[in-house]
Symmetry: C2
């Protein structure tokens, strides 16, 4: 496992904090993170391990990113963080959570630049067991698990809701089935909200 | 475009019907079908074109398979035909169609041998534009379109229902998210039926 640093010198490795604003350092951390997640998955990766591989102080990783989840989101170029999802759903009354989630997801993936990294990740996952494991751990632990807890919904219901939206994104942007592929976002929100609200509504 | 026949001779090509029970002929038709669908997609492929490529009479294709859809299903090793889906949903009262569909799909993909060709097709589709187009045409025209018509449901609702079940299959068997991946089929039927019945229920 090689420890990368700007110029590869031990000096640079030992005094990683001297250029905290450098885009280089940030890029170094992200490159190290990609290698670490690919090797260890999400669960077993640590901020400390990523920092060591990048040749920087762990504090610097926290300076640039909000913890391991934040590094993962940036390393994979994901268009949204679990924190943003959590803020979005806790900002609305419980009976509007389904609609909020559907609109949030459809609006984000409507942007080409936001959608591409997500689809790239799905493509990799379809054929790469280690990447599947990494995504599974991130989704289960950092995203769906936290949302389920925040809403006090059984995890299997969050996963069913996720499956609905995941399927819709694939049908709309990969399979491009018509008419769904060219239906307006607001019409899709109306169509999909009952199912999602059914899953995330108050636990029975 | 080469016309294949058992021994490649014109004689074999001109008298294709002489061994209607031969596994060879059936295999030849399937091989020709795979090439034809890969080249032309589902819409533009014809039984006549497949027969020509296989060096057999079109009647022989109809003898072995129920039309173009039947050839496609067998060529792709799909575990179910549109006709089976249609029979299943027309055999139950309208208010039970959702439950019937959910149980049918989950039961089929629970079998490893039935699931593998479906997942293989999805994997190919994720990275192969021509295969995406072929699957899109088959799904839209031969499967979802016919089901939507049989149920008198707007196609976009059938596609939303398909997206839910497609997502569940991927979450269960590719991502393997727990607890959904190891939830009993009957518990999943209870969980998913309200959403599917919501889509395929009587048109509003």
């Amino acid at each position: 496992m090689s420890e990368l640093s700007t110029d590869g010198s031990p000096e640079a490795r030992r005094r990683p904090g001297r250029r905290p604003g450098s885009a280089d350092t940030r890029g170094q951390i992200l490159a190290a993170a990609r290698e670490t997640f690919a090797e260890k998955g999400f669960d077993k990766a640590t901020v400390r391990g990523i920092a060591r591989r990048a040749g920087v102080d762990p504090a610097l990783v926290h300076h640039y990113f909000s913890g391991k989840e934040g590094v993962f989101v940036e390393a994979m170029n994901l268009p949204i963080t679990p924190d943003v999802v959590l803020s979005a759903i806790t900002a609305v009354p419980r009976e509007e959570v389904g609609e909020r989630l559907v609109r949030l997801i459809l609006t984000i993936v409507a942007e080409e630049e936001a959608r591409q990294p997500v689809l790239a990740l799905v493509r990799t996952a379809m054929t790469n067991e280690q990447m599947v494991a990494t995504i599974r751990e991130f989704l289960g632990q950092a995203l769906l698990g936290r949302v389920a807890e925040a809403l006090d919904v059984p995890p299997v219901r969050m996963e069913a809701a996720f499956a609905q939206m995941f399927g819709v994104v694939l049908v709309r942007y990969v399979l491009k089935l018509e008419p769904l592929a060219s239906t307006d976002i607001e019409d899709l929100v109306k169509l999909l909200t009952p199912a999602i609200q059914g899953y995330v509504g108050p636990s029975r």
